[in-house]
């Protein structure tokens, strides 16, 4: 089992945090953003995990779920639901937000882009009324969502506004030593600027494209 990561890649924050939280033993190799690790993918995909069976995982969320399961914590239905929301709803907004903040110097507009998902998260947390997303203990959903949001929520210059339930949840996860250690490994104390070379290699965010492109699979 081997994990491939690159510095400054926010998805690598997820898997390194999950690795530290679970304490699963695994080789970690740092590679360049452009390195082709997964042989069948046209675009470089990191993080990636090479499994003992010879198969590759190229989804950060699937890698995190795997690490938690190896550690005896199988994802609950609610956990999987958060991971699906993260991938389908939060990520497109985050990609656009990071593109604006890191590459275009439009940090002041990030708040508009993230308002919807952050409000949804806030409402769910206050309705659930538990310290973590899926209950009393940290789950893979907390680690994945915390890591995804870390670059934007830890940067006060983006002025995202404090949400009454997101803030204590975020701080609670961030307080774990494992998470701090993962942040240091990926962002090297450089915050959003630490992601610049990664963001420069990403295709322009989808949401700006989809307005003029007809979806092929809309049924």
């Amino acid at each position: 089992m081997k994990l491939f990561v690159s510095e400054g890649n926010p998805h690598c924050l997820k898997v390194l945090a999950a690795l530290e939280v679970t304490g699963v033993q695994c080789d970690v190799q740092y590679v360049n953003h452009e390195e082709t690790v997964v042989p069948f993918l046209s675009r470089p995909a990191l993080p990636a995990m090479f499994l003992p069976s010879g198969l590759y995982l190229f989804s950060a969320n699937a890698i995190c779920q795997y690490l938690f399961e190896v550690n005896g914590q199988e994802s609950s239905e609610l956990c999987s639901q958060w991971l699906e929301w993260e991938a389908t709803d939060l990520q497109p907004a985050l990609l656009l937000a990071l593109h604006m903040a890191v590459l275009q110097g439009k940090g002041s507009q990030v708040s508009n882009v993230l308002q919807g998902p952050l409000n949804y998260l806030d409402q769910s947390l206050s309705k659930g009324n538990t310290p973590y997303l899926t209950g009393e203990a940290v789950s893979v959903a907390d680690v994945v969502l915390w890591a995804a949001l870390y670059p934007v929520l830890s940067d006060s210059s983006l002025a995202l506004g404090e949400r009454k339930s997101v803030k204590p949840w975020f701080d609670r996860v961030a307080a774990m030593h494992s998470c701090q250690s993962a942040v240091q490994k990926v962002l090297r104390g450089k915050g959003l600027q630490g992601m610049k070379s990664y963001m420069q290699r990403q295709p322009a965010p989808q949401s700006s494209q989809c307005r003029d492109t007809q979806p092929c699979n809309s049924n």
Binding site: P39, F40, L41, S42, R43, L51, P52, S53, L55, L57, F58, S59, N61, A62, I63, Q65, Y66, E69, V70, E77, S80, Q81, L83, E84, W85, A87, T88, Q91, K127, Q209, C210, T213, P215, C216, N217, S218, N219
Partner: protein, 173 residues
């Protein structure tokens, strides 16, 4: 996202009582009201829920590794295949073709939920492929043909005629 996929899956799984789904948001994300708690949301979440309800856990993968592989392809389905652009289709077909080169199913030798949902998601793309393209993505079409003939999967989808013999062969002429 389409509710028919969930109904087709229910029928395949032999679930007697069909669920009533609603949708939320512009993207029409499927929602299932749940008597015992908050509603379940999302195609992958609901599909996995149905599989568990039918006690067909093997469809989610028979080992921790395979379960991760299945989840990965389910995520691929809802992030890459839904609302993909024309340019992305080529990349998706090319990558899948390479991946399936030495595999029967997405999780290697095991038929799983990932095959079912990827089949439902890719069907509209395969229908539109010209014969030359079918040959270009021969591993994808082989996998697709296998899944569409898997008992109980295809439902109302029209079968796509997949050529088993090459006509545009570059090697033998």
């Amino acid at each position: 996202m389409a509710l028919w996929e969930l109904s087709s899956l229910e029928k395949y799984l032999g679930l007697k009582k069909p669920n009533k789904y609603s949708t939320q948001g512009d993207k029409k994300v499927p929602v299932l009201q749940n008597n015992n708690g908050p509603p379940l949301v999302g195609l992958v979440t609901l599909a996995c829920h149905l599989v568990k309800e039918a006690k067909r856990l093997e469809l989610l993968g028979d080992s921790a590794e395979n379960r991760a592989v299945v989840q990965q392809w389910l995520e691929y389905r809802v992030t890459k295949l839904n609302n993909c652009t024309k340019d992305n289709i080529k990349t998706i077909l090319k990558d899948l073709n390479l991946y399936l080169q030495d595999k029967v199913y997405l999780a290697e030798n095991q038929f799983t939920l990932a095959d079912i949902l990827l089949y439902y998601g890719i069907q509209p793309i395969i229908v539109d492929l010209a014969i030359q393209e079918q040959e270009q993505y021969v591993n994808v079409t082989r996998w697709f043909d296998h899944i569409q003939h898997y008992p109980g999967i295809r439902r109302h989808l029209s079968p796509v005629v997949v050529l088993r013999n090459r006509i545009y062969s570059s090697r033998h002429h």
